[in-house]
Amino acid sequence: MREVLLVAAKDLRIELRSRVLLFQVAPFAVATLVLLGFALDADRSALRHFSAGLFWVAVLLTALLAAQRSVAVEHAGRAADALLLSATGPARIFAGKALALAAQLAALELLLGVAMVVLYDARIEHFGLAVASAAAATVGIAAAGTLYGVLAAPLGVRETLLPVLLLPVFAPVLIGATRAFGDALGTAAVNGWAWFGLLGLFALVYAVFGALAYGPLLEAET
């Protein structure tokens, strides 16, 4: 656990120092939400009705940037080699990097949540469901993003390949999180907790699969 936290803290410290998350990713996230609002012609009732889906589209597009960034910090200067040469197991490296990515996504979701309330006039009716489904979706996105990031890392075209690989993988998260959030916001008559279950399953599958597959994929990067 100590090494997981070390790797996670290192990634978060890099983001604090570089300010890429603050000055590039966060403005992109808000701009996405604003543009999606423009696409619906600023019809406030429509915006409110579709706010759950628009929120998660913005989160997933933002997650692509954050996942790219998570790969790039290890790729620059071959820092991943230093992790391989340490006694740290690849599953712990995966967990640390996924944890850091999840923390960054959680911060971005908080920002987008505030923007959604302000811009779309959304109101959260079931706070517990909203938080639980966001947490499960975030873990799933972070695990899948970390795994597919290292898969695309050795390829020279990773900047364009990673979104092509990740967006189809994110589709179940988009569907599940939109439904769960729709229930939490009172804009969809569905059982949000059932969709939360799907999100939890997605997170579990990618967390386990990532811990197992990260090592061989990191080896391929060398």
Binding site: L6, R17, V73, G77, R78, A79, L85, S86
Partner: protein, 227 residues
């Protein structure tokens, strides 16, 4: 004397090209071996192979008793590699880089300070981002990180490049101390005078093969895996 490195007909391909095309090499424990050869001779690939970071595509080899075909992961924690890429985080400060790698290696704060002093990295630089340092200063920091790991096998790719006179001296002192404490050092360098000061033997590589080596090599390890 036991072999730290034992290679027979080692082949290593990079992108389908045989960067090493049948290398035989013995390095005894505590030895300081200098690899020389023109660009593209395979020096960097050989160092990455010995670090367990490149795959052995043909031939046989053991490093520190670990088979390069089947046991690369067990080897890595005992190896320190200083490559062309310094394997550090550019956005972190000198101190943050050192503390992170020291924590992974289980090194103490005193060891961090000791490594920085030995590499003559000024304390005023500790809070400076790595990307703001000169190439020579970065090389010193990367060498300090390597020293913190206390490896049994030091693999140094152009360790003197970009360093001033005092930096070269500091690296050579570190290499001598490492060998003196029983570690083995393999260094590749085009800086012949600086490298020759510390090397106990020289091997020339050309076209992915060792074209000359001392007849007095180390004896093969007690257990050599079957081909």
């Amino acid at each position: 004397m036991e072999s730290a490195v034992w290679l027979r007909d080692a082949v290593c391909c990079r992108g389908g090209f045989p960067a090493l095309a049948g290398v035989d090499l013995d390095v005894a424990e505590g030895e300081i071996l200098l690899l020389r050869g023109p660009n593209g001779a395979g020096k960097t690939t050989l160092l990455r192979l010995l670090a367990g970071l490149a795959t052995l595509d043909g031939g046989r080899g053991t490093v520190l008793g670990c088979d390069l075909q089947s046991d690369r992961r067990a080897l890595r924690p005992h190896v320190g590699l200083l490559g062309h890429d310094l394997m550090l985080y550019e956005d972190l400060t000198v101190g943050e880089n050192l503390r992170f790698f020291a924590a992974l290696a289980g090194a103490s704060g005193a060891e961090v300070r000791g490594a920085l002093e030995r590499l003559e990295v000024a304390s005023r630089l500790h809070d400076v981002s790595l990307r703001r340092l000169s190439a020579g200063q970065r090389k010193r920091v990367a060498t300090a990180v390597l020293a913190l790991r206390r490896p049994r096998l030091w693999l140094l790719d152009e360790p003197h490049a970009g360093l001033d006179e005092s930096g070269r001296g500091a690296v050579n002192r570190l290499v001598r101390d490492a060998a003196g404490s029983g570690a083995t050092v393999v260094l590749a360098s085009h800086e012949a005078p600086a490298a020759a000061e510390v090397a106990t033997r020289t091997v020339h590589l050309a076209g992915g093969v060792a074209v000359s080596r001392d007849a007095e090599g180390a004896s093969p390890p007690a257990e050599v895996p079957d081909a």
